[in-house]
């Protein structure tokens, strides 16, 4: 098990906060915590599958045509997932449907295929996909929760629609009769929250480190 890979995906080389990839879906769907979580989980599933497939055929694909091959592979995979969800998990599809289509244009998936899966074994690629996906999920859920809290005064509203009735306990109204801050629900809110989170991350990284502890090397951007 590659621990580095997991740390990379969850924090050091986080898709949103460090690689700055996939900002289009990150801005578009994070109007609430539930939406962010849904998009993140759907992306994670596709990312694990696409990473494994790419790793499996990595020796067969010549470097010159790898990009179109990966693009076709990912687009096909997403379309099949979309159809399958629509047919067999229709209720879930009605909530997630929008997100699935957006995954096709998620550059993080092609990015991982290119930067990691095409150079590693299937197992390593699966771990990388899972870690990156969960890191993405965490980032989206965090942005969504902050926007939802400030924008509409709730947390995880309609989570039961997304995850099933068992998750109703997640739904909380923090401020009753809240007027709402429309700015946070609209796209600018996404940029504001992301900017503030990035600033917080930088501040955390640049904090003075006690001299005795070894400083971990700065993450190199893919």
């Amino acid at each position: 098990m590659n621990l580095d890979s997991i740390k990379d995906g969850l924090w050091r080389n986080n898709v949103v906060f460090s690689q700055m990839l996939a900002l289009c879906p990150a801005m578009a769907v994070t109007t609430s915590g539930s939406n962010g979580l849904g998009m993140g989980l759907a992306t994670t599933a596709v990312l694990v599958c696409s990473n494994m497939l790419v790793a499996a055929i990595r020796h067969l694909v010549s470097p010159q045509v790898r990009i179109p091959v990966f693009v076709v592979l990912i687009a096909t995979l997403v379309t099949v997932v979309d159809l399958a969800l629509n047919a067999w998990l229709h209720e879930l599809y009605k909530v997630l449907g929008l997100f699935i289509a957006l995954i096709v244009v998620n550059c993080a998936i092609l990015g991982r295929a290119e930067a990691f899966a095409s150079k590693n074994t299937v197992a390593a690629a699966a771990v990388d996909g899972l870690a990156m996906g969960l890191g993405f999920t965490g980032a989206l859920t965090l942005i969504g929760l902050i926007r939802e809290l400030v924008g509409s005064g709730t947390l995880f509203a309609q989570a039961s629609l997304l995850l099933g009735p068992g998750f109703r306990f997640l739904e909380t109204t923090v401020v009753a009769d809240y007027g709402g801050v429309l700015l946070m629900i609209l796209p600018p809110g996404g940029f504001l929250v992301l900017g503030l989170l990035l600033a917080a991350r930088r501040a955390h990284e640049m904090r003075p480190v006690p001299a005795r502890r070894a400083v971990s090397p700065a993450p190199t951007l893919a």
Binding site: T31, P68, V72, L73, A87, W88, I185
Partner: protein, 208 residues
């Protein structure tokens, strides 16, 4: 990887072949997936539509299958699809869509009326209005849309078919007038459509 394969892989013909093969595999996968899911998706969508239709008609209103009893009425765009509600063969109501331009794009509503042209229910089926402002037209967010029930072209004058700001009877939302105005317009034009084609829609009883 042996050297022979590496040389082959670098060649133009291998690259072309691999791209072609990939396209073939992808198309085959899509055809297969589409084939396996088509029927189930059609069923699920029919169920969704059925549930939607049931929302704009009172429970137990009709005893026929509305999805199987449709006709195209009118001239615009090849006719508007009308679902007829019957009880013992007699047409007692109809459900159809109507739309009007909202703030960002068209708002489409599903309108249910009885044979006299009185509204039984209205639901918004498609809109892209501003979240938090214009989306109060959804029944899940606000009861506003239920205010149409029982209204008809007869109970309200033309001037009253408007939001309060324009001298009508329907509430607007704080910060959003265009959206409810569009919904009122869509519902009114739906009722006008029904009034204009009432005989044709009700005559469906004898035609089948």
């Amino acid at each position: 990887m042996n050297a022979g394969f590496a040389r082959l892989r670098g060649g133009l013909s291998y690259q072309g072949m691999s791209l072609g093969l990939m396209a073939l595999v992808a198309s085959a996968a899509l055809v297969l997936a589409n084939d396996l899911t088509r029927e189930r998706i059609a069923e699920a969508e029919a169920r969704d539509l059925q549930a939607m239709l049931a929302q704009v008609l009172p429970a137990g209103f009709a005893d026929n299958d509305l999805l199987a009893d449709t006709s195209r009425v009118g001239t615009e765009g090849g006719g508007r699809l009308v679902y007829r509600a019957r009880r013992s063969g007699q047409v007692i109501g109809a459900v159809f869509q109507s739309s009007a331009r909202g703030y960002a794009a068209d708002i489409t509503v599903l309108v249910g009326v009885d044979a006299g042209g009185t509204l039984l229910g209205v639901r918004v089926v498609k809109h892209v209005e501003t979240p938090g402002l214009g989306d109060k037209i959804e029944v899940g967010k606000s009861k506003w849309i239920l205010g149409f029930d029982g209204k008809s072209l007869g109970t309200l004058s033309v001037a009253q078919w408007a939001v309060k700001k324009d001298g009508g009877v329907f509430d607007q939302f704080a910060g959003a007038t265009i959206t409810p105005r569009a919904v009122v317009k869509a519902v009114r034009s739906g009722l006008e459509f029904f009034a204009a084609h009432r005989d044709e829609i009700l005559a469906g009883a004898n035609a089948q």
